[in-house]
Subunit: 539 residues, 2 copies
């Protein structure tokens, strides 16, 4: 049996090594266009920035080491230029010599990844991209002696590159077409990311397009110019479907190779994994493109299982992802509010700003969390987190709760590890559950930051229950100060029957809202407090 | 309606504040024997050690602040000395004056906590304990000028105190009756904790008992003496059932107050929460004592819900806990192997030694994880972890998976957040799932470190597939060296039909085991490799 695997990183290499373990006798050939296999894709920006100092750290395996340990026939610098699905052969060209050979396969695994998008901007050929070791070397070489860089695109890679170019000592401008970086975040969650990037000297140009690139820099849609010795395009990626097209395989509406739950393409002997394929969304089963390494690796393993005749199927994807931004952890899972709203799906949003560990223990840092919940079923639809520490843990716990089918209110009951340096007796995740159960049971009612203008225009009274000094340092227009610790003795001061309370983060607001409950009165607590409102209404 | 709550920390204070929010009109009285309420219980050792510098950091609320914000009537320095359950009254004594008053209640909540065990050792009255702020002040005062301390007991508090006394500059000996500290760990997981404590200068006296305490120090069972200016007893705690006994309430065989799933004691108007009560074990529903702050806080909230007429019930407990030990994170959830073996329950054990984040990114640290699985249902029975970073996250994820009813093999499919500074594309938790599915599907077979002697005595051949230099640096007696990267070409060298392979942590061993599979041959991979074997056979 011969298995031919095209693409020697992540999904492809996971497929190759798992296939070897399960099928000791199989001939396994890995064809890789670039000069390297099994390199640390996700580490490339950090080598560019000098955080990872040794280039050799990126190269996890070589063809030689893979031959010795796994008996793999790894051919780097080779490209598959033809697929004959009916004959089950591929035509493989050695890039250096141009010589081609035809190779038969019993099973073919496509793991070509995704290609950086290069929009048709005049001068785009001057822009560098980052996909493989060769790109990394080119970028590292371009940095040497460069003083100013422009990064086009504020996605995960663009943001990582901006940080790393700053780390390497360059001045950096980042140009993003939408109103925010990191599209999986909702705008009020992206706001602290913008602030952190600006604090670290990144020039952030939102709602901006690059219309031309030349030797001196870039020109924006509004005529502004940004000088640059170096321009990097990180606008996004699209599935590499060149081979799938050659083989006559079905490509989906999202632009990825269509596979079934076993990773099989429209040809029963051809499989595909990783960034090149469309996945099934965990919430609604729709086809989605989620170019993430964890899913690619898992799919590689699963496809090897299937080829080896083991029952195995692909999980749907939640889109759990994390990125570091100048010391901030930014993580998401599931759907965001933008997507829920666009799809017309009802949801309940919860914002909190808990500490990563007990406040009385040194070093506690505030994070911002957001939970999105189905108001009918109480299912967890998504979550987002931003903060200096502990965000990764909370998002992983929530992603796991989602996979386990826990309802949002059941987050209150999770028994999480607590000691004061690691968490809180009521952990940040538990607190999300507490808030959810109060909302689900209508113990309390909340209002979102973006709903506030309409409510105030409709005649609601807004009460700031923080202290006078907090109020003086920054207040929501129209808010009346009435500190929570005075409220109990001044309940008579509140005569409105449509009251909105707010504090800094929502906790004191909840106490106040419960105190103000009265027959015939509507009381709502501003979700996430002043902090979420400020993030949502700022930029 | 009057609610009287006895005990103003954790469970008691959670009950009081939740009751206030739900019942704006209720009279809520909190009676606390010590001089303080709502103090940071879990922070006390860290104030003793000077890690938490300000005593005021420990005092989260005062009677005054609780009156202002929550309208609570908090009486510190008051003790309940009588309960008349039939009349629904308590007798409350002011400790300073000795004056008593009788107070009626509609609902009574007992949250007295647990009392430090003081064994009948001659001189035990010289030993300090740590339960409240007054104890903390006494211990802090005793440290001043002291040079040597003995800590009796290697539980969570004893270990935390040993670290903090070292941090305060004292010489420290810790005396523990069993063969290991931190009883929730299995011995091979406790071994790195012992090593870390010794590296930091703690004199560790395992399998040792203190038989006498005097002005110069302590005497051990074998006649050895340990000099000490200061002796701290941290032998454990037992539920404080004094009030329950006064009230004629049912106390269980484990020594805790018996409550139903709503937190109600054997008297329908008396509730109890926290360390004083018996909980229901998440696996088998048996009564257990789990004195942990997260459960106490949650129970306090739930009891307030019940008193307010809201449907609410207590969750069973898994016993998720974590402790820091000189920079090590040590965490557990569920049952350990000792308990499974003692109960006769079948299990499968998995040991891994993954990195907390991608090895190519600076600062990656190795942790040790252990997963215990039901071999029939593949249910996760428990987990343990020890390491410098990322252990808290992995244990919280596993604890959440257990709550969600995920099978061990489903850990492979969890979609966890990955960027190289936070995790791995195949996260440590995913890897546990991979190993489990290989074992469950009999793709591979493992052997535990403690099963090795019998297997070797039975004629099995042990092959070390690590490199020659690793083998030279420390090997298992009887192991034959055959590096994995040479094995493919030397398969004929292996003639035994009962083969055990091992590497450093189990990964290369798995590759080798798959290569050596042959009809009629039994091949097992040493679970957790040399590292687990060394931890299990050392101390």
């Amino acid at each position: 049996m011969r298995i031919v695997i095209i693409g020697g990183v992540a999904g492809g290499m996971s497929a190759a090594t798992r296939a070897r373990r399960l099928l000791p006798e199989a001939e396994i050939v890995v064809v890789e266009r670039s000069g390297h296999v099994s390199f640390a894709n996700c580490g490339l920006p950090y080598y560019v920035g000098g955080v990872i100092e040794q280039r050799s750290s990126l190269l996890l395996q070589t063809p030689q080491s893979l031959a010795a340990r796994f008996g793999l026939d790894v051919r780097v610098g080779h490209e598959v230029v033809g697929v004959d699905a009916s004959e089950r052969t591929v035509e493989v060209r050695e890039l250096a010599s141009g010589a081609s050979t035809t190779m038969a396969y019993d099973a073919l695994v496509l793991s070509p990844g995704a290609t950086p998008v290069r929009p048709p901007i005049p001068g785009i050929e001057r822009a560098l991209t980052l996909r493989d070791i060769e790109d990394t070397d080119a970028l590292a070489a371009a940095i040497a002696g460069a003083g100013r860089a422009v990064v086009i695109g504020g996605g995960f890679i663009g943001v990582e590159l901006a940080e790393n170019l700053r780390h390497a000592g360059l001045s950096v401008d980042l140009v993003e077409a939408t109103e925010q970086v990191l599209a999986p975040l909702d705008p009020e969650m992206a706001s602290p990311v913008h602030a952190r990037m600006r604090e670290h000297g990144v020039g952030l140009h939102l709602r901006s397009q690059v219309v031309a690139i030349d030797a001196e820099g870039v020109e924006l849609h509004d005529g502004r110019r940004l000088d640059a010795d170096l321009v990097v395009a990180a606008i996004g990626v699209r599935p590499d479907t060149r081979l799938a097209t050659l083989a006559g395989l079905m490509v989906g509406e999202r632009g990825g190779i269509v596979v079934d739950e076993h990773g099989r393409t429209s040809d029963p002997h051809i499989y595909a994994v990783g960034d090149a394929v469309e996945k099934s969304d965990a919430h609604d089963g729709s086809a989605v493109l989620v170019p993430l390494a964890n899913t690619a690796n898992l799919q590689g393993r699963r496809v090897a299982d299937v080829i080896a005749g083991r029952p195995s199927s692909m999980r749907p994807v939640q889109g759990t992802a994390i990125v570091g931004v100048f010391g901030l952890q930014v993580a998401t899972t599931g759907w965001n509010e933008k997507r829920l709203r666009a799809s017309g799906r009802p949801y309940r949003a919860i914002h909190t700003h808990p500490l990563d560990h007990a406040g009385y223990f040194p070093g506690a840092a505030t994070m911002s969390l957001k939970l999105l919940v189905d108001p009918e079923s109480d299912a967890i639809l998504g979550a987002q987190g931003v903060g200096s520490a502990g965000v990764d843990k909370r998002l992983d716990v929530i992603a796991t709760a989602m996979r386990g089918g826990l309802r949002a209110r059941e987050l209150a009951d999770l028994e999480l590890s607590y000691a004061p340096q690691f968490g809180s007796a009521k952990d940040a995740v538990n607190m999300l559950g507490y808030v959810d159960e109060n909302l689900a049971d209508e113990v309390t009612h909340s209002i979102q930051w973006h709903e506030l203008p309409a409510a105030l225009a409709g005649g609601a009274t807004l009460i700031d229950v923080r202290s006078a000094s907090e109020h003086a340092a920054g207040a929501i227009p129209g808010a009346v100060l009435l500190p929570v610790d005075e409220l109990r003795s001044r309940l008579g001061d509140v005569t409105s029957n449509d009251v909105i309370v707010h504090c800094a983060v929502g906790v004191r607001g909840h106490v106040a809202a419960m105190m103000l409950a009265a027959p015939g009165r509507r009381v709502r607590n501003l979700d996430g407090g002043y902090k979420t409102w400020a993030a949502g209404t700022g930029e």
